[in-house]
Amino acid sequence: MIKLLGAVLVLFAGTMIGFQQAAKFAERPRQLRQLAHALQRLETEIGYGHTPLPEALERTASATPEPLAAIFRKAANGIWETESFSFSDSWEQAINENWESTSMRKNEQSVLIRLGSTLGISDKEDQMKHIHLALLQLKAEEDAARDDQGRYEKMWKSLGILIAVLVVILMV
C-alpha cells in the first residue's frame, strides 16, 4: 500500500518537473513577443507622440502584462530615485532586478541593456533606429526560442513521465 502511494508520488513529481521545464520553453517566446510589442509601443510614443521618456515608459508599462511591465515601471520611477541622474543606470538596474522573474535569457537581456544606453539622448530618427535594431534582435531570439520550444517542450513533458516511470520500476 505504502509502496503504491510512493510510486504515485514519484510519478506525479516527475510529471510536474517535466511540465515545468516544458512551460519555461513555452513561456520564453511568449514573453519575447510581449517585449517586442512593448518596444513597438514605446517607439510609437517616442516617434509619433513625442511623449517624454518617463511618461512613455509608464504608458508602455500599463499596456504590457507582468512581469515585463515591472521593468518599464521601475525604469521610469528609478530616474527620480537614483542620485546618479542617468537614465541608462536606472534602466539597467530595473532590468537586473526583475530579470529573475521572467523566463528570458542573457541574450535578450544584453539587447535591452544596450538599448537603454541610447534611449532619450538623441533625436527622434535616431531613437527609432535604435528601437528597430533592438526589435530585429529580439525577433531573431524569438525565432530561436520557437525552435527550442518545438524541439524541447514535448521532450521535457515525456521525459518527466518516463524518468518517473523508470524510478518506479527500479524501486519495485
Binding site: P52, L53, P54, E83, F85, S86, L119, G120
Partner: protein, 349 residues
C-alpha cells in the same frame, strides 16, 4: 534661488553650489556651465568663477571645471530624459523647464538645407533662474494708465537682456488682471482681460498649459506659441483687452501688433534694445513707433539701487525720418521726461 533649480543639477554640481553662502544662493541669477571650462555664476548683474572650495573669484585659474559626464547628466535632466521631444527647443537654442527657468544651450548645430535644425554636441548651458517679483510694476503702472478707457496705453518696454523685462511684464499682467491699479484716480477700476503670448514659456511658466506663476485671474496664456500667430489667435478667440508679448522684433510680430491695436487692444510688449535710439535702428520697431502703435516707450536700466525706468511718450519721436533729427528730438524728449522718470527698487533685485 538655488533651491529652485537644484533639482536640475547633477549631484556633483549641486554639492558645489550649495557651498555658496546663503545670501549668494538667494541672489543667484545665472549658472553658466561649459564642458571642461570654468564654472561661472551670475548674480546682481556681476559674474564670478567658482573655485573647487566654493569661493568666488574674478580670475578663472583654479576654478572648478564640469566634466563631460556631468554635462551629459545635466542635459538628460533638463530634457526630461527625452532629447527627441525637444526638437523645437533645440532649434530655438533654449529649453524652458517647469518653474519658468530658461536654459540656453550652445554647441555644434545641425543644418538642413542651410536652416538650423537643432544643436548636437551641446557643450555650454546657461541656467537662468526665473524670479517672480510681485509689485515690480507698481511704480510704473500709474504712468501708463489710459484714463478715458480705464485700461493701459500700448507700451513698448526696451532694455538689454538681464534687466528684468520679463519680471516687469509678468507683474503688469498680474496687476491689470486682478484690477490692482496702484494709483488713487484709478482705484475702483475693474480688472481687464489679459492675453499673454508666451513664446518662451518665461512669462507664465506654464506646465501642461497651466501657469505656475501668478499672472492673475483674468489672464489667458498661449504657451510656447510663435508671437505673431499667438497674438492673432488670442485676438480672435479670447477677446483680450490687454495683450502681452515678450521680445518682439520680427516683421510678422509687427503685423500682428498692428492688427491688435486696430482692434482696440492695448499692447504691452518688450524688445531687446539699449534705448529708444537703439530701437529706432531696428526697422521693425521704427516702423511700429512711426505708425503710433505704442503710446509710451519705457527704458529699463538696472543700477546699484535697483531697477530704474524712464517713460518716454512715443508720439514725441514719431514722424522723423532723418536719424540726426530724431536723435536730437529724442534727447529733448528724454530731458523733458526726466522729471517724470520713476525709480523703484524691487524687493529682490
Amino acid at each position: 534661488m538655488l533651491a529652485r533649480v537644484a533639482h536640475l543639477l547633477p549631484l556633483e554640481l549641486k554639492t558645489l553650489l550649495e557651498r555658496l553662502p546663503e545670501s549668494m544662493q538667494e541672489q543667484l541669477e545665472e549658472i553658466r556651465i561649459r564642458e571642461g571650462r570654468p564654472l561661472e555664476i551670475g548674480f546682481r548683474g556681476q559674474s564670478r568663477f567658482m573655485m573647487m572650495d566654493g569661493s568666488l573669484r574674478q580670475a578663472a585659474d583654479g576654478a572648478y571645471k564640469p566634466s563631460a559626464d556631468t554635462c551629459r547628466k545635466l542635459l538628460e535632466r533638463i530634457t526630461n530624459y527625452s532629447l527627441y521631444a525637444m526638437e523645437e527647443e533645440l532649434r530655438r537654442g533654449f529649453i524652458t523647464v517647469s518653474g519658468g527657468h530658461r536654459i540656453g544651450l550652445a554647441g555644434r548645430t545641425i543644418l538642413d538645407g542651410g536652416v538650423v535644425r537643432g544643436i548636437r554636441d551641446i557643450g555650454a548651458f546657461n541656467i537662468r533662474v526665473a524670479r517672480e517679483v510681485i509689485g515690480a510694476s507698481a511704480h510704473l503702472l500709474p504712468k501708463l494708465i489710459d484714463r478715458t478707457r480705464k485700461t493701459l496705453h500700448s507700451t513698448l518696454i526696451l532694455a538689454p537682456p538681464q534687466q528684468g523685462k520679463t519680471t516687469l511684464i509678468r507683474d503688469i499682467a498680474r496687476s491689470v488682471s486682478y484690477g490692482l491699479w496702484p494709483s488713487l484716480e484709478s482705484s475702483g477700476w475693474q480688472g481687464r482681460k489679459v492675453g499673454i503670448v508666451d513664446e518662451r514659456s518665461e512669462i507664465a511658466a506654464c506646465v501642461r498649459g497651466i501657469p505656475t506663476f501668478d499672472v492673475g485671474p483674468r489672464t489667458d496664456v498661449m504657451d510656447a506659441c510663435p508671437k505673431a500667430e499667438g497674438m492673432m489667435m488670442l485676438v480672435r478667440s479670447m477677446s483680450p483687452e490687454v495683450l502681452i508679448a515678450d521680445e518682439i522684433g520680427r516683421p510678422e510680430d509687427a503685423e500682428a501688433i498692428r492688427e491688435a491695436s486696430h482692434a482696440g487692444i492695448s499692447i504691452v510688449a518688450t524688445a531687446h534694445a539699449y534705448d529708444l535710439q537703439d530701437a529706432r535702428g531696428r526697422p521693425v520697431l521704427q516702423k511700429l513707433l512711426d505708425e503710433g502703435a505704442f503710446k509710451y516707450v519705457v527704458e529699463l536700466r538696472r543700477t546699484e539701487q535697483g531697477i530704474m525706468h524712464r517713460v518716454v511718450p512715443a508720439e514725441s519721436v514719431i514722424g522723423r525720418t532723418s536719424s540726426r533729427e530724431a536723435s536730437a528730438l529724442q534727447r529733448l524728449a528724454s530731458e523733458s521726461v526726466h522729471a517724470l522718470a520713476g525709480r523703484h527698487r524691487a524687493d529682490d533685485p
